[in-house]
């Protein structure tokens, strides 16, 4: 192993500082007693108390969690099916279109996805009467659509890196294809499905733009609430909320990293 050049080490240091200093500062300021969020007024945890008493935030968080749980689960089911189809069936009618529709939602600018889905819902409502109102259902469908793309890619690349001999052996021994799928393929790709579900869940909790398009009056998700507040500037209770999310996510990622490292 050659030593790294000084240039590389300093760029690395700068890069990581750039990525993490803003997050550290939000955590620090969340314990700031002053209402002006960037002037230090002593240590306090009052903003956490206010956060827990703010019913609008709690309602929004609850709606976001419900949407994220539902859409991540549906996205994992459809995404896994799509991933298996792309990895194991080399040729079928419309494969190019299919793989195009899988990768495009990941890079499509959110404003386009949001606008197009809303216009679809409005047109459907005129034709069929459904969806009668926009909110939980429409946001869940929108999130499922872009999240299943991520799940499909993760499952597909896991299957591509795995050799097919296990599945083939089971088939040669007379296993029904469906049986082989449930007994061999699914257990092997289970880690990829879990990773996909978690990613889908996070993406759903994170989305602001698409939800703003497809939600109706009265259904505010957590990012929509946060956005409406931070538009007006820095706010101490959002610092507290951000800190809770940062600490929760970081400990989760760190923990799974440690577990994964111990295993290898």
């Amino acid at each position: 192993m050659k030593r790294q050049s000084r240039f590389i080490v300093s760029v690395l240091a700068f890069g990581y500082a750039f990525l993490y200093i803003p997050l550290v500062l939000v955590v620090v300021y969340s314990f700031n007693d002053s209402r002006i969020a960037t002037v230090w007024g002593g240590f306090s945890t009052r903003w956490y108390g206010e956060l827990l008493r703010n019913e609008q935030i709690l309602d929004a968080a609850f709606l976001s969690l419900r949407i994220a749980l539902t859409s991540a689960t549906i996205a994992t089911i459809f995404g896994t099916m799509a991933g298996i189809a792309l990895a194991r069936f080399r040729r079928f009618k419309g494969r190019t279109l299919f793989s195009g529709m899988i990768t495009s939602p990941m890079v499509m600018p959110e404003v386009i996805t949001g606008l197009s889905l809303l216009l679809l819902f409005v047109s459907l409502q005129q034709l069929t009467g459904w969806p009668a109102q926009r909110g939980f259902g429409t946001i869940t469908i929108a999130h499922t659509t872009f999240a299943m793309a991520y799940v499909a890619i993760i499952v597909q690349s896991r299957l591509m890196s795995m050799d097919e001999s296990l599945e083939e052996a089971a088939m040669d021994l007379g296993g029904h294809p469906l049986r082989v799928m449930f007994d061999i393929t699914l257990p092997l790709i289970a880690p990829a499905m879990v990773a996909g579900w978690l990613l889908a869940f996070t993406l759903s909790l994170d989305d602001l733009v698409i939800a703003s398009f497809v939600s109706g009056p009265g259904s505010n998700t957590l990012p929509m609430y946060i956005f409406s507040k931070v538009k007006l500037g820095v706010s101490p209770d959002i610092n507290a909320l951000a800190t809770l999310i940062i600490l929760f996510v970081s400990s989760g990622v760190l923990l799974s990293w440690l577990v994964a490292r111990r295993r290898t």
């Binding site: 760029v11 459809f78 404003v111 679809l120 931070v230 990622v253 990293w257």
Partner: protein, 280 residues
């Protein structure tokens, strides 16, 4: 039979909720705005597109969006390449830690990460306070609501998208090749440009496209960090739709943006398909 079902379910979902909406956007972009619910007519004309191309404001906004996204992409590359290189060349244990730290911000809300910069770049924010305290400036400098702030936000949010594909192609690279080039008398920069760079190119292209495409339509970053005059196309589309309630014009804006993005998206897909094949 079960094979067909496996393909059909996600296929139909995507046809209905991903492809069909574009047809509707196209149809509405040809309509006229009217008062009522829904606020567009059944008429068909190219008026909206004619308006987009005749009004200078839109052309300037599209160009500005492309320019800002391209600059942000280059900045991400300039910072991300040495970082990815350093990560790929570090020892096994450090490498996994460094990679984890690149991925970690992905899991934290995008909106809150952009928000974190508001506290830093405020007139009374951390950066200005530090500079004032150190005596480097005697008046707060305007950081927020400038193009500079938008660049910072874009680079900050999209840097991991650049580093990960770069890392993937640099990690696969055989270091002996660089050493062989140097042993044969190539200078360090010659070895870099003739050996490292061509081998890293798939990662460079994938990373650049992954940053450039979503950055063009970005809404949140210019809204929160940029000034009111810093018009970018994502925000124009959003405002046309929600503020002016001109659904047909917003649809036309979306169609033109989509046409701008067709080439980069197809390029990206081709690279990803090739990448999948080479790793399989």
């Amino acid at each position: 039979m079960w094979k067909k079902a496996l393909i059909a379910a996600p296929y139909l979902w995507l046809l209905l909720f991903f492809l069909a909406p574009f047809a509707i956007v196209l149809k509405i972009s040809l309509a006229e705005p009217v008062f009522g619910q829904p606020p567009y007519s059944q008429a068909m004309s190219l008026d909206n597109f004619a308006f987009l191309f005749s009004d200078k404001l839109y052309a300037v906004t599209y160009l500005r969006s492309v320019f800002m996204a391209a600059c942000a992409t280059l900045l991400c590359l300039a910072l991300g390449f040495p970082m990815a290189y350093g990560i790929a060349r570090s020892s096994r244990a450090t490498r996994s830690l460094l990679l984890m730290l690149i991925i970690l911000p992905f899991w934290i809300s995008f909106l809150l990460r952009v928000y974190a910069w508001m506290g830093l770049m405020n007139n009374y924010g951390t950066i200005n306070s530090l500079l004032l305290w150190a005596g480097i400036i005697d008046q707060p400098i305007q950081l927020m609501y400038t193009d500079f702030a938008v660049f910072v936000g874009l680079v900050y949010s999209y840097l991991p998208f650049m580093i990960l594909p770069l890392y993937a192609s640099l990690e696969r690279m055989d270091l002996d090749l660089v050493e062989a080039a140097q042993d044969l008398g190539a200078s360090r920069s010659r070895a870099f440009w003739d050996v490292t760079w061509p081998l890293a190119r798939p990662g460079v292209i994938a990373g650049c496209l992954l940053v450039f495409i979503p950055a063009i339509g970005e809404y949140v970053i210019p809204y929160l960090l940029g000034g009111p005059e810093s018009l970018l196309i994502g925000r124009v589309l959003f405002d046309e739709f929600f503020v002016n309630r001109d659904w047909p014009l917003a649809s036309a804006v979306a169609i033109v943006l989509l046409l701008l993005l067709v080439v980069p998206i197809v390029l990206l897909q081709r690279y990803q398909a090739r990448d999948q094949e080479s790793t399989a």
